[in-house]
Symmetry: D4
Subunit: 249 residues, 8 copies
């Protein structure tokens, strides 16, 4: 509830258009729908310029379907995403709300409904290796649902640095870069040293040796010597996309 | 070395203006100055739109002074910062290169030379508690050197959430928000749930109980349920400022 | 064995009613039943005002059934709970001791026999997200078995803080609040800043990014800036309920 | 701002007693005092039944003095505490606001102003060893400021369990027990197995061998086999006292 | 090769009974059998007074069978144990070397061949809970194979300390005590405070809350306030038994 | 692109043999093949004297087959390895590119194509126990593909140090030694104390007690008191082999 | 209070020698002296065959002096030790209770009063390096106070394994061996593979590389492949000595 | 004692030149000097081709001086190094054994006596930043003492990758490269991707953000995607140099 609305509400009380009781009720009514097991947030698009995402793990197929349907039914809402959904969850959600776009992210999938209109912004999603692709695909699908059309540069790891340098112009001209990297995560430092654009790094739980399921990459990205690099959680391609949505005009 | 320069170089060789030997030498000459103990990067302003920062810990006062002088001497350079400098380092650097602006960050200081012209952008730096102020001051000083004029909101921790809600309009209207928080770092999630702006979180090493010198806040910020929150390293107010410099137009 | 009993025992020896040998034996006889693989504690209800709970993991269905039967057979005992039981364990226990109340907690279940009479106390169980529900259900079932009738508020995570604020009056009036939250666990700090009631936080192993299977939430809750917040172990909905049973009159 | 106040505010607008503009301003005015470096929370006593505490580390003596003075100046406030204060901080605060009660907690101190009237409640603070005393003293001083008169049982560690058993009746009759223990923290499990009262455990950073500065005790207390034990952060005697204040009637 | 043997060897060379070449070869021949994938140690019984144990995980059933057969074939050897063997490994080993004694340790088993003659020594194996039994059974089986006849006291956890105190005389009179405990491992401290006997603690990977798969118990046992407690690795019932075999006369 | 090539390129431009546009294109063309999901590095053999290896986990059988085929098709390339491949990946790769040599490494396999000619160098691969063999086999297969013919010494763990001492001459004469050890990793220190050769240690994720899936061995090898010992990542038999390939002439 | 005493007590009640009230009082009177800040355990010698030790850190010199005096004043007590005492603590204790034997353990000291008569038992204390000596000296002083006369073998680290093998006969003939080792702790495995005696390992916080202040050695000793090795806490030379006192006849 | 010596010894016994008793004594005499607090290893040069190094921390100046003197007195020995020595240790050692070469490594120093003759081998020591110089200097001093003349390339961190690429030819032609890097350690991966030479990485404890005193760099280097990279312990410039000494011919 923003300031003009609050002002209008009180004006209405002052002018007798609205009773005090009604105003109290209105002030207490918050823009979510209570499904019992979930309080669906119909306010997020206004508050955060982002759609609502349903994180599938731990929810039953029926719960996924019900929350997605509730969100898509709200006419003023933005994009609706179902993330990290297993096949039965995807099926149930699509049965209840058809016309979703499915993107495979490894064994799971991201489904998007009511994508936003295309908006400008040169976004690069760069991965260090093939094993980082599922996370990159989640990121690309989320950006796509918000109207951005990112370019994916796969397999640019630092062990063969010329593979990255081949794309140095695209990096220098980007409006935002997402770096998706497991192992030691060094690609993020390197990219942030090349481009003036905002760089969001996603540590990935792939890798071996001492990768510790992504913790090593997360720590390494935070200890990076490249100034102004920011980091999201392990495997959080969705979060990196949201960060890009926030920062592009 | 960008594409047009490379093209010109080869045209010069083709037209006989430049000999092949000279071109090889030119291609190998990279824009840094080698001081023996440091390779000073004169290219960063062009490559990254950011000034160069000298991280003082581990350097002698003389080394600090010498690197700062070398950087400020480069006419095409941008802002020059000396960060986390102890008093003798500050003194030596200012003796060699006067007119720096000193900002105290706890027992240490940030010194800035040749600040950039003021540029637009509503930036908020929000802290959870008084103990987070030294990190916030480093962030503010860095933003300031790059021409931004951030507003500092101190002591908005979630234990008295109304202190934050009092600033809800400023949060909603910001172009970028930096959240500086130790302890459990919950303020970052809360802020990112309120504003549509990009939010950069800085975990702080203050706090007790199980704060683990900032590791708890760092992990908590990465496990945040707020979409699109990004994080920099522990106590890295400088890095958060650089991230904001990257993402503002 | 409390003081009056001990006094009576010695009086009986002094008066010749009981022989010294018999008194030694009596002093050594402790109120448990030895099943060979378990020493069943018949004394807990008196000593701790709580019923006995059988933690199912690692026990065979037969062992579960046998311990439950032994406990329910004790006439002076209180509620008997079987927690985190897999379907074969539930079946075996109910076959041996019918009339248990089954509550599903994700893929497992809590079974309760001989619930305590209803007792007063406004208890809220608040969860941050849908994935926290199995732990919340274990908590609710345990409270229920001890005669409390808690209210469950689901999906109040801080990313949409208005969902929590909608329940601010219930929080302010509660006698005890249990906060069940994975991810970064920030909800606990927020709730403890709103209510004067005792707040018991349960970190949950759900979440991703850097949730580290609940360790991040546990640490964050302990580093909380909210005074007087207490914490139980990861996913320990049962323990949180017992803490509430202890603290209500 | 509670419901009746809100209702009154709107009634005033409806009856013309208050203009809408004034009401908007009133709704936005929150009960804290902004000192620039701190937002002093004058609302906590009403909201949480607890006084406000100033955590001294990281604050200058002047800041400590200023915040304490602001808090004590609020007539409707409750107890005011300055915790973990070094001698110069204690001196500055007492110079500005005399008549504080000083309790030494190792090399630091807790200072309390305007203690609450004595209230009933049998509270035990039990320590495992002499090294746990500074944390226990912080706990006792905080309880005392809130009107409780706890009994301190020092040096009851499990290596000589008869020392604890000597106090078994006091444990059984307590209304609340705080267990302060470093090393392996086993005392908390033992106490919680003896008493039906709520037990709040404080892990202490003392100890050696593999005590890991309190982390081992914290983890062990959370893995405890004693049902309903709750835990606060490492060395957080203040927090344990607040938890007791919350749970006693 | 001990001193008298070496002396004899050199005497034989001096007296011409043995050639220098033969002595060199003899000195280089070490008492193991090389099976290609394993160097079977026939010397351990002499060197360490313990039998040889084959750790089954990671070995094929055939490899288990072959190593066991080689060890049992050595006439001067002591007990032979196959530990943590899955059913196919047990079957293969018993097919090749019949007459082994099988002890179930949860889903796995310990198999023993050629047990040592019974030897004196009152050994107690005490467990905190039912979930610790598989580890305790491995310990008991290993002690048994070496001729000791331990007494198993199950389910003596500190949450009901009277269950342990019932056995206080047996503890006081024991020659050695093994404490097997998961969760917070507090039982080890308690037992070591009661008995003058050597106490070997085995942390167990059971438990929840913050048990961290046994790491919490291991750390807690090392931070114990009970003097002279020693610890073996997580779930290492075999190792605890070997420690007892070493220390009994 | 090395210096002579660059010189030739510029000479060609100077002499008019090559147009500047063509030279720019050539300078930008880097020696990899872009398969969309992978940038195959055809340059590694020249740049690093090692063949290219395809790490199978996370790749589909078809992707494995396609990358292997692309690599083997490059005539100037060196050995091609597919590592940690599951049976379907092995089958697909061999179907597309026959004549690979398969080495089993536990449940997975290493496949090698186009092995290098035999080269001199006495390399020992020493393992502590049978459970270390899969990692040792990966190491041996990789060495073999590069033309080295290592000797495998299995089961030389320090618990029976004479088993290692039996091979002391081979250790002293080796050109390089790889030590593959889980558990506490002590074998690496011991070997490095015996031989003057370079010693590369591979911590293995086998073991129990407190082996922490290889982290304990990794840390122990780095804390080793043996000077000049170097370490690769956990279970990284491939990496150890590559290190040996780098260091032998 | 042991069985015969209890029997006697009850007989006395039965025969009228003692009143029931007196018996209750007697049963409740436990053998410790309450100094307010410490409950001094006068029972430990009987219960554990060990003297009482006062751990100095965190105690004031006066507290050290007072506890030592109380313990030495008890005529039936055994050895009294003050461990890890700083010079002012040593001085205060010796001023109050002269004739203590001081052993330096690095910058701190162990002081012993009323040493036990010499008892048999060949005990070896073996250290890996010179930096382990302070811990070894604490161990030796504690053994000495209990009447044992250990032999110290310094600087036997595995990097030069022949230094250890020189003492192989002493190891084989020992009744108990304490291994004191920092760095990677490999010496403990090696010694336990050589001797049949009980081996108690003490991880030491010395070392660098990845020694993590003794945690690496502690973990490595627990992951040891040597059967029957037991471990005490980091730097706990006192605890290792107590373990030896417990296990020798 | 090598094979020919052993053969000669036995021949001497066979021929009567040496008595069996004398041979036994000889076989037991090992090549070290026992100073009581240290067993000085006179055999290392023969066994490992490296000199002996004395690690100064934890040793008194006198002990440092005595061990250095003993080592330099051995005529057949190689280089003698005193590492990480504080000023008083340096002074004492030089007073007892003059003519040592002192290299400052931050606040400490490395001192070398009796350097080996110059030997061939192009060794590069590359650092990421100025803060890594003390570790690099320890490495250079150690290489120098063994006759190698390394080239130091300072401040080549990946944030400005062109600073490294400027030295690409030296990297490609090196015989061995040591990479000294704190922060995220990415430089090691990058260098190993450029050069075919053996690369030894040294993680450094400098850095901030989430550098965790070098642990992040250590883990990152082990998770590196560059094949054949090896790693030594944190800050272990000495160890890296020894690794290079082992691997050069």
């Amino acid at each position: 509830m923003d300031d003009p609305t609050l002002r209008q509400l009180l004006d209405d009380v002052a002018s007798g258009v609205r009773s005090p009781d009604d105003a109290v009720a209105r002030l207490r009514r918050l823009p979510f729908a209570d499904l019992g097991f979930a309080r669906v947030d119909h306010h997020r698009m206004l508050r955060q310029r982002m759609g609502e995402a349903v994180y599938a793990p731990g929810k039953s197929p029926e719960q996924c379907a019900q929350i997605v349907a509730e969100l898509v039914a709200e006419p003023a809402g933005g994009p609706v995403l179902l993330t990290r959904a297993a096949p039965p969850q995807v099926e149930a959600a699509l049965a209840g709300t058809p016309d979703g776009t499915v993107t495979e992210t490894g064994a799971l999938a991201t489904v998007a409904w009511r994508g936003a209109p295309t908006r400008p912004g040169r976004v690069l999603v760069v991965t260090a290796g093939t094993a980082d692709l599922p996370v990159a695909h989640e990121c690309v699908a989320t950006l796509d649902a918000h109207g951005l059309r990112p370019t994916l540069l796969a397999d640019c790891g630092v062990a063969g640095v010329h593979r990255l340098l081949a794309s140095v112009d695209e990096l220098a001209d980007a409006d935002a870069v997402v770096v998706v990297a497991g192992m030691e995560g060094a690609l993020a430092s390197l990219v942030a040293g090349i481009t003036p654009a905002p760089v969001v790094a996603v540590p990935v739980s792939s890798g071996y040796g001492a990768a510790l399921e992504g913790v090593t990459a997360l720590l390494a990205m935070h200890a990076s010597c490249a100034a102004g690099l920011t980091v999201v959680g392990i495997d959080n391609g969705f979060g990196a996309a949201c960060a890009v949505v926030r920062l592009l005009p």
